[in-house]
Every structure is written in C-alpha cells, then in structure tokens.
C-alpha cells in the first residue's frame, strides 16, 4: 500500500514537471515575432531573403478526407516546381500543412502551431467552413494573411471584420444562382426538390437557388453530416413528386443519395454542386457496392454540376497538360486528380499574389496587393476574382456541365455573377493562356 502511494506521488510530481515545462515551451517565445519590423513597416514574420513559409490545414484523416486530402499534395508539387525554377523573387516557398481531421478544435490547435511555432508568413487554402471558421478570429488578431480559404462560405468576405481573410472558390450563393438559373431556363416545368447539408452550405445555397426557382420548389430536405440514413428525406422528395433535385452536399452523400434512389426507384434529374460532384471519387464509392450490381458510372451519367477549374481528365486543355507535367515531376506517383489541380491552382494564385506584393513583401503588403490588383489576377480559374478593398470574395463564375461517364461536357459558356441580386452574364474574358513553365509573371508589364 505504502509503495503504491509513493509511486502515485512520484507520478503526480512528474506530471506536474511535464506540465510546467510545456507551459514554458508555449509561452517562451512572445518576442520572437517582433524582430520583423522590416521594410515598409509591415510584419515580415516567416519571410527571409531566400525563403517564405506558408502553412495550411486539411482533413488528411476522417470523414472529410476522401478527395480533400489530395489538395495539399497538389499545392506542394506546384511549390516544389516553382522552387526548382528559382522560386519567387529568389525566395523558395516552404509549405507546411497539418491534419485537422475536419475537427474545429484540432484546426485551432494546428493553426496555432503553424502561426506561433512554425512562424508562417501566411495561411493558404485552409479547408472547411466549420474548421476554418474556428481560426478566423485568431488569424486576424495576429495579423496573419489568411488567403484563399478552401470553402464556398460567405464568411470569408467580411473585410471590415476580417481584413486578412480572402475567399477563393465561387461561394455557394453564386454557385447556386448559376445552377438555378440554368435549371429555370432549361427545365421551366420541373418540380424542384432541394437536398441540402444542414449548415452554412445549405443555407447560402438555398438563398441563391430561391432567387430563380422559388415558385418551382416543391420540397426542401436536409441532412446532418454523419447520419448516413437519408431514406426518409429521399422518400419525402419522391412523395413531393420532385423530378429534379439540386443537392448541395459532400461527395459521400452524393453516393448515398444515388443508392437510396436505387432503393426507391426514384430517378429525378440530379444537379449537384461542385463540392459533391467529382465523378471519379463518387464513382469509386459507388462502384464497389453489391459486387458489380451498381456500376460506377451508370448512376452518375447525366447529372448536372458546375466547374470553375480545368479537369484532370481533359489533357487537351493547356492548363491540365501543364499541371500534368508538374505532377509528373514533383508528385507522389499517384494520379493527377481534380483535387490536386485545385491545390495547384491555389499554389499558382499564391505565387501570383506574392509577386504582386513586390520584391520585399510584408504581411500587410501582401493583403494590400491582392485588394489592389486582385480582379486582374488571371490563371486557370474560369472567371476573375472579386477582390477589392471592400470585397474579399473569390472566383466570380463557373460553367454548367453534364457528367458523361467519368468525364463532363459543357452545357454553355462560363457564367459570371456576384452575391445578392447581381445579374448573371456570360463571361467576357476568354481562357487565360498558360504562362511559360506555368509560373505567373510579375505584374506591371515586366
């Protein structure tokens, strides 16, 4: 008895010592950032004469990992390529990404590590609305540029409150507007059902959809991520006679809706948002059910979605060819996927922004350069950014496509719009040509 008590006391002491050391570790570097007075009076944490450190958070494990975990591998390959070609103004990009498992608590933790311990210059492409939402305040309080969030939430466009944060992909509202406008003109008689994720994604999307289809909507059903039993919702859509369903959901739920449709013999015209529609990923989930009774592509054939980046399965596209060359040179040996192209495009966007910030970028200078020149930044994306001092929303348009097999076919030109009641128009600018080596040139006519 006495011995075990002594062991316990020792253990408690050891634990106390460890905690005390950990406390010192966390608090021991408050002044290390203030060395960055730098040129122009801005913060130069994370940037030196020959390097710039960039951080990010992604779900590398967990329910959101399929597909999304490939994004940072694309970004990394792109940065390796740029470094092999001399870097940006002589600076090599040091890219660090960490796993948050799509869990906001972990996002806070890993982003704290990136900012305080790794001392990154900027955060690039952090993925997810609930996850990135958890670090929005701290990044802005610390003055860390928070560029090109990988989520279509409207949350990233609040420059008054969050001056350091910028969106990237078309937000769910304008994506929904573009899809709904297509449905309203192409299927004017359709009885429309909505299948929405029960959070910002669904709310923003419903707002956009109702601008064009309010009178055609016969049923709105929602699902809670994690609950895979969506039979009742699908029965309700079927009972309402919806013959066209618009889904704003993640890829696994695209697979589940298709399976449930099979069960109920319910075959409406499906329209999925870009986030849930990757035919390769959804096909691979569906393809393995029931030992071949569900073939991978048959269920998805004919569904409608939208695109704003070049596709991996389209090697005739000059951008895809360039990304393929980059992936072959610096990738991990796996296939070039749409998710990796997404990551590479974000890498491209970051290099472009860094160049625009001049030869000696500061954190403040980077943000200012994007606000000043952002609408002119051209790249693989289908439509220009909406970045100004008053607006931090990303890509302004997308084109509506139909899935055929593992690939897609365009149903019209790129459509461009903005939030609220802004009209939808055809894009005026054509496709952006690929710059030499796929690396953006410095702005200002050089």
């Amino acid at each position: 008895m006495r011995r075990s008590r002594r062991v316990r006391v020792l253990a408690a002491l050891a634990l106390g010592a460890v905690l005390a050391l950990a406390g010192c570790g966390a608090g021991g570097r408050p002044d290390s950032g203030s060395g960055g007075g730098g040129s122009g009076g801005g913060s130069t944490i994370g940037i030196t004469a020959d390097s710039v450190k960039v951080g990010s958070h992604f779900p590398l494990t967990g329910v959101a990992a399929p597909g999304y975990s490939e994004i940072p591998t694309g970004t990394k390959a792109y940065f390796d390529w740029v470094n092999a070609h001399g870097g940006v103004n002589g600076r090599k990009i040091d890219y660090v990404f960490r796993d948050d498992a799509y869990n906001p608590t972990q996002t806070s933790q890993v982003v704290n590590e990136l900012v305080l311990q790794d001392q990154v210059f900027a955060i690039l492409g952090g993925l997810g609305t609930p996850t990135h939402g958890a670090v929005l305040d701290s990044l802005n309080a610390e003055g860390v540029p928070d560029l090109f969030v990988s989520s279509g939430s409207l949350l990233w466009d609040r420059p008054q409150k969050y001056p350091m944060t910028f969106g990237w992909q078309p937000d769910y509202e304008i994506e929904a507007k573009i899809l709904a406008d297509h449905v309203a003109t192409t299927f004017p008689q359709a009885k429309v059902g909505l299948f929405l994720q029960n959070d910002d994604v669904g709310e923003d999307a419903e707002r956009g959809i109702r601008r064009y289809l309010d009178k055609q909507i016969v049923s709105v059903q929602r699902y809670t991520p994690g609950n895979t039993d969506i039979g009742p919702q699908m029965s309700a859509l079927q009972a309402a006679d919806a013959d066209l369903v618009i889904g704003f959901n993640v890829p696994s739920y695209t697979a589940l809706t298709q399976l449930q449709g099979l069960k109920l013999n319910y075959k409406p015209q499906w329209v999925y948002s870009n986030i849930g529609a990757d035919p390769v990923l959804v096909g691979s989930l569906l393809g393995r059910f029931s030992q071949g009774q569900v073939t991978d592509t048959a269920l998805l054939d004919g569904m409608i979605t939208d695109e704003y980046l070049p596709r991996a399965d389209n090697p005739s596209d000059a951008w895809t060819a360039q990304f393929d060359a980059i992936w072959k040179a610096h990738g991990d040996g796996g296939a070039l996927t749409n998710f990796r192209i997404f990551g590479m495009s974000q890498g491209y966007a970051f290099v472009q922004a860094l160049l625009a910030a001049g030869p000696n970028p500061t954190r403040e200078g980077l943000v200012e350069a994007i606000e000043k020149g952002g609408t002119q930044f051209a790249g693989p994306w289908a439509a220009p950014y909406r970045f100004t001092a008053d607006k931090h929303s990303g890509i302004s348009g997308a084109k509506v496509v139909r899935v055929t097999g593992d690939s897609t076919a365009a149903l019209g030109p790129v459509r461009v719009t903005n939030n609220g009641d802004a009209p939808i128009t055809d894009a005026t600018a054509g496709e952006t040509p690929v710059p030499p080596n796929g690396i953006p040139a410095a702005p200002g006519g050089t």
Binding site: T224, D229, L259, V294
Partner: protein, 292 residues
C-alpha cells in the same frame, strides 16, 4: 401514403440493425451484468476485417463468417485479457474499462484500416421491390437483415430458456459465488457470454455496413440508438430488445421524414429519458429496476 410506407420500411430496416445491436447488449448484460460500451467499436473492427475478406474473395457471405468468427475471438479475448482483471464485483469499473476500449479500438481501426469512407458491398440487391409501377423501400438486402435478426433472437431465447449452458450463464451472472459452489465453471461462462455477445455485435456491424459506407466511427449512431433500444425493451429481455430496436428505427425515421433530421439525436434522448422516468425497468423486463 407511399411516403409513409417507405419511411416506415426504412425505419424498420434501420430498426432491425438497432435490434441486433441491442440484442448484443442484452446478451452481455444477462450473462455478465455489465453494459459493454465497446460493443460498437468491436463491431466496427470486425466489420473492417470482413471488408478485407469481401474485397479479396468477392463473397459477402465469407466476409460475414470471418466477421462472426473474429467477433467470437475478440469478445472472448477482451473478457479474458481486460475485463476479468477488473474483478468480479466491480461492475462500474468494468463499464469504465469498456469505455476505454471503445476509444482505443476505434483509434486502432483508424491506424490499421485508414480513416476514410469506404463502400461495403451488400449481400443482395439494393433495388426496392416494385409491382405495378410502385416501388417500396424494401430490398433483398433488407430482408436478409431482418431474417438474420430473427434467427439471432430465436437462438438467444432458445439458449437462455431451454439449454443447460444458458441456465449456467444466467446463474454465473446472477450470483457467481453460489453458481461456483453448485459446480458451474463461472469463468468459462463469462467468457462465453462475452464471445457470444461480440458475435451478435459483429453481425449488427456487418448488417448495417452492407450497401453503405464504413469508417472507423460509423457505428457511433448505432451504439447510441441500440443502447436506447435495449433500455426501452428492458436490458434483461431479448424480445424487448428487438421491439425496442424496431420502435427506435421507426420513431427516428418518422422524425427525420416529417419533422427534421436535426432533431434525431434529441428524439433518441427524449425516448431514453421518457423510458427511464416512466418505466425504468424497460417495457418487457419482469424483474425490478436495477442500477446500471
């Protein structure tokens, strides 16, 4: 009307899985007087093993057999190696240990099998039966699920009511000391109880996975709802577990279809609280309430 029928059928299909899971909880409760919170994680683990086998052999049934066999071994192993060390009169300790096992096994599954979504093949067709242009949400796979649960239920009732082994198991659980004096190999009976319960749990795991997606935490909702189902039916009663499971499935499907999917966890909690307030011993238990 069709919507109501289909929602009901979906609920019954889901309820059959809750029932299978509740049966596993009842089994372990009757044979050892412990509630096993690790049941779901153990089932997820054996389901992953089954998935490996299904993918390499192409046969769902071989996968099921492997899941059942590994469930049997895992259940016996957990009892022998972990739970027995907690001591015979330390039920609360055993419950806490199962909670720890739950976390550990789930983490181990993520490490071994990866944390991403994977599709699990179905035993039979996934298309609903149709007649005269009307399709109802009843598939061949669902029939297999319901059939499997019925077989397990009958088997358990037969085991506990009509066999010597069942009687010995109940005796060991009820009073180990007296049972031992009467010549019952109590230790072996406890191991057998755990093994059988894990086998039934593995069955539930494979049944719910068929034709859907699995990931290490996919059993979490089943654990909660299966537990509520077991309490609803009375932890002592296999028949009660089945009725409780089906009732939970139908209630939750109706809530999802007609009220809102975000209220499902709340509805499960409401049922649990209502049962504990009104009839804490459950609908079908004959004995007085026991503290869990």
């Amino acid at each position: 009307m069709l919507q109501f029928v289909n929602t009901l059928l979906t609920g019954l299909g889901q309820g059959a899985v809750y029932a299978a899971f509740a049966l596993a909880l009842v089994l372990i409760w009757r044979s050892t007087r412990v509630v096993n919170f690790a049941q779901g994680a153990m089932a997820a683990f054996t389901t992953y093993l089954a998935l490996l086998v299904v993918e390499s052999t192409g046969s769902w049934w071989v996968g099921l057999l492997v899941a059942l066999a590994s469930g049997l071994v895992l259940g016996a192993g957990v009892e022998r190696v972990v739970v027995r060390r907690v001591g015979p009169h330390n039920e609360l300790g055993a419950v806490i240990v199962t909670l720890g096992l739950f976390v550990a096994l789930q983490a181990l599954a993520s490490i071994l099998f990866g944390a991403q979504f994977r599709s699990f093949p179905a035993p039979a067709g996934l298309e609903g039966f149709s007649r005269g242009g009307v399709t109802i949400a009843l598939t061949p796979s669902m029939l297999i699920t319901v059939g499997a649960v019925a077989v397990v239920l009958l088997g358990l009732v037969a085991l506990f009511r009509f066999t010597d082994v069942g009687l010995r198991m109940r005796a060991s659980a009820f009073d180990g000391e007296v049972a031992r004096l009467l010549g019952v190999p109590v230790g072996r009976m406890l191991t057998l109880g755990w093994a059988l319960a894990a086998l039934v749990g593995s069955l539930a795991g494979v049944l719910i996975a068929g034709g859907s997606l699995v990931w290490p935490a996919y059993m979490d909702t089943v654990i909660v709802n299966g537990f509520v189902a077991a309490v609803l039916g009375g932890l002592d009663s296999p028949g009660g577990a089945v009725v409780g499971g089906l009732a939970m499935g139908v209630i939750l499907a109706l809530v999802t279809g007609y009220v809102g999917s975000d209220l499902v966890p709340l509805a499960a909690l409401a049922v649990l609280v209502a049962v504990l307030l009104v009839r804490p011993q459950g609908l079908f238990a004959r004995t007085a309430a026991r503290r869990v």
